[in-house]
Symmetry: C2
Subunit: 356 residues, 2 copies
């Protein structure tokens, strides 16, 4: 089992990565809680809820199950979870456990952050993608007009990552998760990026997966320790996300997974970087790798104009300038503001020439 | 003008109390904001919005106006304000100004706390009651099942208190505000409490009011500096609030003002304290003072059983025990947990004998 520690602005917390840790969850409760609410989705519940409940047999445990999928990350489900928490009688000494992927983690984390002005929560991620969202304290729900627009910075008291739960992942979920791992390699480490470009996702071994996850979490943890509230280096983690979020919102969440949308965003970030800095980033090899691994790259039902509109209302935008994370080279990210027209023109040629 | 400073866990902020400060608001902007959203209600807008906008003539200013009253502190208005903020193009460098009473302050503060995971906000309180809510960083909206159940701790970057705006307050609002001032005296200072018992609210002078406000804010500021997240002494500020919140919720918010409900809660706290500690707190003189100043004390449409149910789901409750702030003597608060039946029996006799 691997153990990492992250310092947030309010407290330190442990990240445990290992096989079967979901069966020993009770060991990681840092204090006696008056009650525990497990928030999970209907898909994950079928697979892992019993094990987690068993591990908490000596606790007063309640469960709320939401429909799986990004659509659940909305204000109505958020309010319903508050209703559940009140009706179950959760108090300020209660704990929320987020059992699931990024959607469950973001949503349950935001419920915990706002229930009675904040109670403890633990992340139990069950997807590869959630290695990213479960660390760093970003919790949120979506607004119809933008992804993650309503939220807080609120770090969990622990992250319990059972890699066994990843064996049930679908190909789509593996793809989605690996897009973020590729991103973490792109912003930090060329040799890891090159290693990733040499794997095929349908042949990946458990040990490789564990190694990649641990790599991704370390990149993430290091950055959020340095800049929790995203005033500086944390922005680099948004590589691929400006366009990625816009695509997700424009397709109204769920048509592409988060990671799949980010994959297209990564290609666009490399494309723009090449143009802006006159460099030669591995756009072609990344494109090939995405194709070989069946990433869907077709966004023809979106217009560049609408995507630019979405990008303008992104959280990273300032004074309505679109902010993009670019790469001067692999491992060297930077941030740049753009006028709409510039991005629109880049996006049109990108959609016509690169991913068509 | 009086100037106070409060240290929150994240930053220090100033509280300015003076006449006409709403005209000079721009002086208290601590940095250049990309845009400003003033959130206010339809009553306050008519009286003070123009002055505030004028003072911000050199800024990019947007306005959202909500219906006056506690009913606006709900999830729908919260979401609508996020919609406004997105549509106005607010970004992470924007500022929210809460211009109004406690409802506007709590709601706008929570919108600011959650918009793109948090942007700056300034409190510009326009009621006496809001001297309490504008300091200390408690922001929230109500859930149908409980007051202030969904919220954050998030301190403003400044509190600008223009006492001139208080001259337009109705009798009800003056009563509501003074209930919190009486509470602050009860938990901290017997001689101020005695002074308050000698005034009549319809004869109060501007200077007296300023003195009382400044007293109340100092009591509040001292306590929240010591215990921002309410793990200890901050609980004392809830004197009268366990029953007060239950009454407000049971009458479905707005029938009694917050302060009027707290007034009944204060009487109940003194009543229970007298029984529990066998002391002789000034219950009779406070009751007389409330009656002389036209506080509505009739809650016969509530049953003790339902109120006890509400108290059990209060945020201060732990393990479903009802927690009440009591007084060993004036100026010496303490916290005690109760079983339902005990509170129910106290409440029945209180409703029959004291406030009937």
């Amino acid at each position: 089992m691997e153990k990492l520690e992250v310092k947030s602005s309010t407290h330190e917390y442990k990240i445990m990565i290992g096989e079967g840790v979901r069966y020993t969850l009770h060991q990681y409760l840092t204090k006696k809680y008056s009650s525990i609410l497990i928030i999970t989705d209907d898909k994950v519940a079928k697979l892992h809820l019993d094990a987690v409940k068993e591990s908490l047999a000596n606790e007063k445990v309640y469960v709320s199950i939401i429909p799986a999928g990004e659509q659940s990350k909305n204000i109505d489900v958020f309010y319903q979870l508050h209703t559940d928490a009140i009706q179950y009688g959760l108090d300020r000494q209660s704990l929320v456990i987020a059992l699931g992927g990024g959607v469950v983690g973001d949503l349950a984390g935001f419920v915990a952050a706002t229930y009675m002005r904040g109670i403890d929560f633990i992340q139990v991620p069950t997807t590869i993608l959630a290695h990213d969202s479960s660390v760093g304290g970003k919790v949120a729900i979506n607004h119809e007009l933008g992804k993650n627009m309503i939220g807080n910075f609120n770090s969990p008291v622990a992250v319990i990552y059972d890699v066994e739960t990843l064996s049930t992942l679908s190909d789509i979920e593996i793809r989605s998760g690996y897009a973020e791992l590729v991103k973490e390699a792109l912003i930090s480490n060329e040799s890891t990026f090159n290693q990733l470009m040499n794997i095929r996702l349908n042949e990946i071994s458990k040990d490789e997966l564990k190694k990649h996850l641990s790599f991704g979490i370390k990149v993430k943890a290091k950055i959020v320790e340095e800049d929790e509230n995203e005033s500086g280096v944390r922005k680099y983690l948004n590589l691929g996300h400006t366009l990625g979020h816009a695509i997700e919102a424009e397709l109204s969440y769920g048509k592409l997974t988060h990671g799949e949308a980010v994959a297209i965003g990564l290609l666009f970030a490399l494309y723009v970087s090449n143009k802006e800095f006159e460099v030669d980033l591995p756009l072609e090899s990344l494109l090939t790798w995405f194709k070989n691994n069946d990433y869907p790259l077709d966004i023809r039902e979106c217009t560049s104009k609408k995507l630019v509109e979405r990008m303008k209302s992104d959280k990273k935008a300032t004074n309505k300038k679109i902010q993009m994370v670019l790469l001067e080279k692999v491992g060297k990210p930077t941030v740049k503001d753009f006028d709409d027209e510039v991005i629109d023109s880049y996006l049109q040629s990108f959609m016509e020439k690169v991913i068509r």
